[in-house]
Symmetry: C2
Subunit: 244 residues, 2 copies
Amino acid sequence: MSAESGTKTLEVCFSPALIGQHDVSEAVVVVIDVLRATSSMCVAFHHGVNSIVPVASVEESLAYREKGFLVGAERNGEMLDGFDLGNSPFSFMDALVKGRDIALSTTNGTQAIAAAKGAKHIVAGSFLNLDVLAEWLMAQEANVILLCAGWKNSFNLEDTLFAGALASVIQPAFELNRMRDAVLAAIHLYNLARHDLYGFLEQSSHRSRLAKLQIEKDIAYCLTPNQAPVIPVMVDGALVRMAV
Amino acid sequence: MSAESGTKTLEVCFSPALIGQHDVSEAVVVVIDVLRATSSMCVAFHHGVNSIVPVASVEESLAYREKGFLVGAERNGEMLDGFDLGNSPFSFMDALVKGRDIALSTTNGTQAIAAAKGAKHIVAGSFLNLDVLAEWLMAQEANVILLCAGWKNSFNLEDTLFAGALASVIQPAFELNRMRDAVLAAIHLYNLARHDLYGFLEQSSHRSRLAKLQIEKDIAYCLTPNQAPVIPVMVDGALVRMAV
């Protein structure tokens, strides 16, 4: 059943490498990279950034510097030398970002946005914009696909937990189809974790990686709902703040 | 860390389409298609089948009939006309299968076996051979990858639950690496479901499909541990019963 017939479907995709199983053309795709790309994007727009161009390579982002962009890059969780910004949400709270355009290259988030190409809308989701995003999605006459960026195309827990958090709120407005198992799994895992997201992720792979980088503060912030109630949306190759 | 250095890793892969993220060459790959291909394979060998050739197409399996094979095929959960066997574990309990060679084409199981090509060993896992398989895996000096066949390359719950059941038993003998999140998720979901697997799957996609086919009895049987304590293993393109 399609969105046209009055019913709309909700699907969860655990990896950009599996996006081919989904029909993005009739759907809003929510790209999810909780630690930390899509969280930082929400913070950036909440602090007045004008646009963010997601780029695939570090070289490409440097080319944007010459056009007056701030450039942000991170690989394997670490900020790269010679860049203006890393991938921490706190680096986007600086007054220097207000009104600026940013070219951002990240390990997984940019790749997931690229995988969603052809979607009706591509928006960025994180715990930081949970409620505003849920409300907007339920009001759309479109199917919704929650696309977890994962870690280098592998399943990851933190993106799955956010997919579950969002799905558990919006599910009543959608039908579940033959792809329902991923939706159910995400909701089950979120319900297990919801009272202590931080503790639940203690054993997870990415959190272990990030802990080594001493960014526990970033993680705690990225798991806190509704700190940056904005919706980043792709328009003509750049993310901008949706007028809602 | 590799199996050679004395540590061995455990990974879970939620779809044949994601197998490229894993290094199968140093690993035992456990192919999991609980409803019903790998369950039926266990039953077949427990009832004296000589070999099972997994084939990709219905046409290919028919070619085996001329060589004296019994032929089994199923598409979308239903037995195909003109075949000797379907995909129900009960069809493999018949005395007629004893000592015979079978060519079997299934929707997802055969595809998953193909995806595991190049592995050190490829074995079939299901609740029906849980304990014997766990014991054998822990005794091997090799990495282990639990490969969920899923449904047409999408995540499914029943294969994930078995991956979690097996992982929760064997995990102490293995290291978890950067792919650990899928292992943790499978174990969490299994722990949620373990006291009522049948009820937990009630909302799942594949069970709904199969319920329409009136094979609730198959499902209940496929979720019952240790009914067929054998290990099907690929040798020269065919599954045979491992001597353990």
